[in-house]
């Protein structure tokens, strides 16, 4: 079978991506990156950011919370220092961009338009910043304005990464689609709070984003719902730990999957997911992914 997946103008050799913030820029493990559909970079902002104070991570039975707070070198240094190296990767490179105003998304898109990257993932869902982030992603009109502005400023493939925090992603996914998005990623981490036992917030950023296995049922629910409402490709994300999880996301209607938290446990987790998917496709003699994408709805 041909395992390729096309989103906008970007052709991914297989449906497995490393999720933003969990694989840095794909450069630490190039032999892994090179065998994936693509890597999504850490979020890039216009200005450099030092991120949140520690602690930035907490583990609970079911997953983790993080509050990194978009630590990144800023778009200029990213273009100067990182892009020349990611351009040498054999996989597609998707740059996750995060703005603190609607206009900033436009500036980021324009700045990256001439760079050798393959797609932009518009992050309207970061839970760990005080302005922008998930607050934008909760408002369909704002998602629409941001997507429309990014569309105007770049010819690159646009994927909008949506939040499911206090919003129906069906509404925001439709808004993104209407404004010209080529695909949507869902879901980003969910809001979470951890206390230290003495009543004080544990994480340095006070609250965090929940990820890992605990997220999967809700993420699948969201993918299933949104798949019935939009035509653009969905990239499923949330608790993909192995190939069986990835298969569930495809069955629920996603065309691709992102592996996130699992990379922290095993930097080769994405490869294991891809190997498992490939084995499934071979065993079941699939001729293309369409045979299984969204089958959960067809079978209900």
């Amino acid at each position: 079978m041909n395992p390729q997946v096309i989103v906008g103008q970007a052709a991914f050799v297989n449906p497995v991506l490393a999720a933003s913030g969990t694989f840095e820029f794909g450069l630490k493990f190039p032999s892994v990156s090179n065998r994936l559909g693509g890597v999504v970079t850490k979020a890039i902002t216009l200005q450099p950011r030092v991120g949140n104070p520690p602690p930035r991570i907490f583990e609970f039975p079911g997953g983790i919370l993080n509050s990194v707070g978009l630590e990144n070198p800023g778009v200029e240094r990213f273009c100067a220092d990182v892009v020349p190296r990611t351009a040498k990767l054999r996989c597609r490179v998707v740059v996750n961009i995060a703005g603190f105003t609607v206009e900033e998304y436009g500036e980021l898109a324009a700045r990256l338009d001439s760079e050798s990257v393959d797609a932009l993932e518009v992050n309207v869902s970061c839970p760990n910043v005080k302005e922008g982030g998930a607050l934008f992603g909760q408002q369909p009109q704002v998602v629409e304005s941001i997507t429309a502005l990014v569309r105007k400023r770049t010819t690159k493939t646009i994927i909008v990464k949506l939040t499911a925090n206090f919003v129906d992603p069906v509404e925001t996914a439709k808004a993104a689609e209407a404004a010209g998005a080529d695909g949507v990623t869902l879901i980003n981490t969910l809001f979470g709070l951890v206390l230290d036992g003495d009543g004080r917030p544990f994480l340095g950023g006070r609250t965090g984003g929940v990820s890992g296995p605990a997220l999967k049922p809700f993420a699948l629910f969201c993918v299933d719902r949104v798949a019935a409402a939009v035509k653009i490709p969905i990239i499923g994300c949330g608790g993909v730990m192995d190939a069986a999880d990835a298969l569930d996301f495809l069955s629920a209607g996603a065309r691709m999957v992102q592996v996130g938290t699992a990379n922290l446990v095993n930097p080769e987790a994405t490869l294991e997911v891809w190997a498992g998917l490939k084995a499934y496709a071979q065993k079941n003699r699939l001729s293309n992914w369409d045979q299984i994408v969204g089958r959960a709805r067809r079978q209900s």
């Binding site: 969990t22 630490k28 520690p54 930035r56 630590e71 990379n263 930097p267």
Partner: protein, 268 residues
């Protein structure tokens, strides 16, 4: 980097809540250098999910030794591993501690902090003069004293309750030791970080945060290189979760830039 499976060849409790474990790991034993750590999966399933970073305490032929204290669910589970069990291990990770030659090197370990210093001391003993200070709350909690003595270095002990050695904190001992050192010509320092003081011993420390902060204050302006402990996500530099604030702003990712960092430059 692929995780590898390592067989436990020895497992014992050293004192209440502190465990020693030897793992058969030829590849790691060959490559690991002092300062580096292993990231150990303590369960085969999804809970606990993350690996636990543990500094290498010693190396012997094709085996590596981990000495750790039980601080939570993960380390509690690890402490239940038995001889013959296999652990899923990643490593060696982190940046090796700098190599030294012809220096006077002071080691200051508090509690479980003695563990990573042993491997470093073993590697540095041939080309340097070592002074080893070990502290604990009480005599029963002193760790690895025999191993340090076997290196042939001078070992001084401090306990909070006076049950062994100096009655007081190990940082007090370190302060006295540093003051008693004879000034040494700048040109003789081999390590470039010594240029700051230029005339003092190199200091390596590991222990609880308050101890490290106290040591830095007492020895100022002598630079102190410390093994830092903090919650870690990936251990490989990809998640940015193990951030330590730098005094001038920004963070050190100590899974990658550490775990041995210059303590004078970070906020403890």
């Amino acid at each position: 980097m692929k995780p590898t499976r390592c067989k436990v060849t020895d497992a014992r409790e050293l004192c209440a809540g502190v465990y020693s474990m030897w793992l058969e790991a030829p590849d790691i034993a060959r490559r690991v250098r002092p300062g580096q750590f292993l990231n150990v999966k303590v369960s085969s399933g999804l809970d606990p999910l993350l690996r636990r970073p543990i500094s290498v305490c010693d190396v012997e032929r094709n085996r590596v030794r981990l000495v750790f204290r039980v601080v939570g669910r993960g380390t509690a589970q690890l402490s239940r591993a038995r001889v013959g069990d296999e652990l899923d291990v990643m490593g060696p990770l982190g940046r090796p501690a700098l190599e030294l030659r012809g220096e006077e090197v002071l080691f200051c370990g508090g509690g479980i902090g003695a563990a990573p210093l042993l491997f470093l001391a073993r590697r540095l003993k041939q080309a340097n003069r070592l002074e080893i200070l070990l502290g604990a709350r009480t005599k029963a909690e002193l760790l690895l004293v025999k191993e340090f003595r076997a290196l042939g270095a001078r070992v001084a002990i401090a306990t909070d309750d006076g049950s062994a050695g100096f009655h007081g904190m190990v940082t007090e001992l370190a302060e006295e030791e540093a003051k008693s050192q004879k000034p040494k010509a700048k040109s003789q320092s081999a390590g470039r970080w010594l240029a700051v003081s230029g005339e003092r011993p190199a200091v390596f420390a590991c222990g609880p945060r308050p101890m490290l902060a106290d040591l830095v204050k007492r020895l100022d302006p002598i630079p102190v290189w410390g093994f830092v402990e903090e919650r870690m996500g990936c251990g490989t530099g990809i998640c940015y979760c193990c951030a330590l604030p730098k005094k001038g702003g920004g963070h050190v990712r100590f899974c990658e830039e550490g775990p041995v960092v210059r303590l004078n430059e970070v906020v403890l």
